[in-house]
Amino acid sequence: MNRGVIVKAARETWAATLLLGLGLLFVEAILSYVLPTFQEQFSATFLQLRFVQSFLQALLGTEMSGRIDPGMFVSVAWVHPVVLAIVWTHAILLCTRVPAGEVDRGTVDILLGLPVSRWELCCSETFLWIVSGVAILSMGMAGNVLGSSRLPPEMRPDASRQMIVLANLLCLYLAVGALTWLLSSMSNRRGRAISAAFGAVLASFLLTYLAQIWSPAERVSFLSVLHYYRPLPVLRDGLWPARDMLVLGAAAAGLWVAAGVIFNRRDLSTV
């Protein structure tokens, strides 16, 4: 790894990381307080709607089976579309920096003119991406703790179970980031790589939702990254989603290596 590349990348991304981290902290604080507090009102109104039930089941990744309890509301705070959008936006922003971002803004010539190998560049950028990913998720967790600290003790979620959900979310973050990295390594335009990555996560989201209401989609729902992120069973039963995390981790590793190989072999120049 190269310290100079890490410093340069940190200098270029800290503002986005801080902004998105604060956003996640705020959203988590609100959701973790509001949802359990007003669970009766939500249960009486929204949760009676078929559409909302399917949508929630898609987000939670499991059958609700009429069980509406504080655990379900706590887990919504970890699967809310705004939370996922913030986490994915961060992963996509950081993982399209090199090479697509550098080629796009014309700075790749000067960067590759320095004595740093492409693998070293890849590893240094990845290090910063993972560190800032952990930071942003920690800010989300801080928001969650802050919000739920206002709840009565019996309604507060179990911290150790929340940590398991956070670890699962980190794996999801890494898988989405690695897919974005692959798209970036094949592109010369950052906008194109960002669009493709957002398209892929949106498709993943839709597939998970469709799988709740349409059986053909259910058969291929394993292709969606959200299929491997199910906070509700974790928060209810405290079990480690080892298989889901393994699949996401393996996908992240495989996609990252593929991205690195492509980045290392391709021609890169703005001329």
Binding site: N2, R3, G4, V5, V7, K8, R11, E12, R105, G106, T107, D109, I110, L112, G113, L114, P115, V116, S117, E120, R265, D267, L268, S269, T270, V271
Partner: protein
């Protein structure tokens, strides 16, 4: 290709005896590079650029950098986003030179520089060349190449059509001859066989010598000539000739 941006489709390129694709980062440790279309991250100022590039290079670029900036009259405190084209070019040059590389690869280095700074750069490059550094210099301003370079290569449609010292290139070419006759009527009908005329304009003939100089001098002594100039072609006419030859061949 020399810096490992592009992979050769055939053959290989090497610098310092190392393969440019496989050992790219080792080679670049001793290379200073200025791209033709220099773009730097807009948030950096000169000082930050020297610090960060130095960290990436694992060299202290802040030792030489400020001196170089002073020679180019560059304020290192200005952010790239607020710099003019010329200032960015100067910063690019400082970043390429501050680690005293063995090899400098400069693509159009004088672009955007005022004449005084161009002269300062030429002076600096001569100093570096005299100290044993190799300067690989690409330019469309041939007068500049002529002033600076010892060895010249000419590329035509991506192919190397000439690669020799300037003297050798001149020696290989026919001498340019310009004759000024006493009067328009005094010029003979036909030129001698060793003189290939390219143009006749009033009292003036210009062309190339296709034989020994002595033969031309003997012939000229018996002619009503007011003035005669025999010289080597400049780089621009050599360049034109190479391009014309290429076009004729194709």
């Amino acid at each position: 290709m020399l810096l490992g941006f592009l992979r050769p489709t055939a053959g290989r390129a090497s610098v310092f005896g190392l393969d440019c694709w496989r050992n790219s980062s080792r080679i670049k440790a001793d290379v200073g590079y200025l791209p033709g279309d220099l773009r730097l991250p807009s948030w950096m100022n000169g000082g930050e650029a020297l610090r960060i590039f130095g960290m990436i290079r694992r060299r202290d670029m802040l030792r030489q950098g400020p001196d170089l900036a002073e020679r180019f009259a560059l304020d290192l405190g200005v952010r790239v986003s607020e710099m003019s084209r010329g200032m960015r070019q100067k910063l690019g040059l400082v970043l390429a030179l501050a680690h005293r590389p063995r090899l400098l690869i400069l693509d159009e280095p004088t672009a955007g520089l005022d004449p005084l700074m161009q002269e300062a750069l030429r002076h600096l490059l001569r100093e570096m060349a005299a100290a044993g550094h190799t300067v690989f210099f690409s330019s469309h301003t041939l007068g500049e190449v002529e002033q600076l370079c010892e060895r010249v290569a000419i590329l035509r449609e991506g192919r190397l059509v000439a690669d020799a010292s300037l003297e050798e290139l001149r020696g290989r070419s026919q001498r340019e001859v310009t004759i000024l006759w006493n009067g328009e009527a005094s010029a003979p009908e036909d030129p001698p066989p060793f003189l290939r005329l390219a143009a006749r304009e009033g009292r003036t003939w210009s062309g190339h010598l296709a034989g020994p100089v002595r033969e031309l001098l003997v012939w000229a002594a018996s002619q009503p000539i007011e003035d005669i100039r025999i010289g080597h072609p400049d780089l621009e006419s050599l360049f034109r000739r190479y391009y014309r030859q290429g076009s004729d061949a194709s």
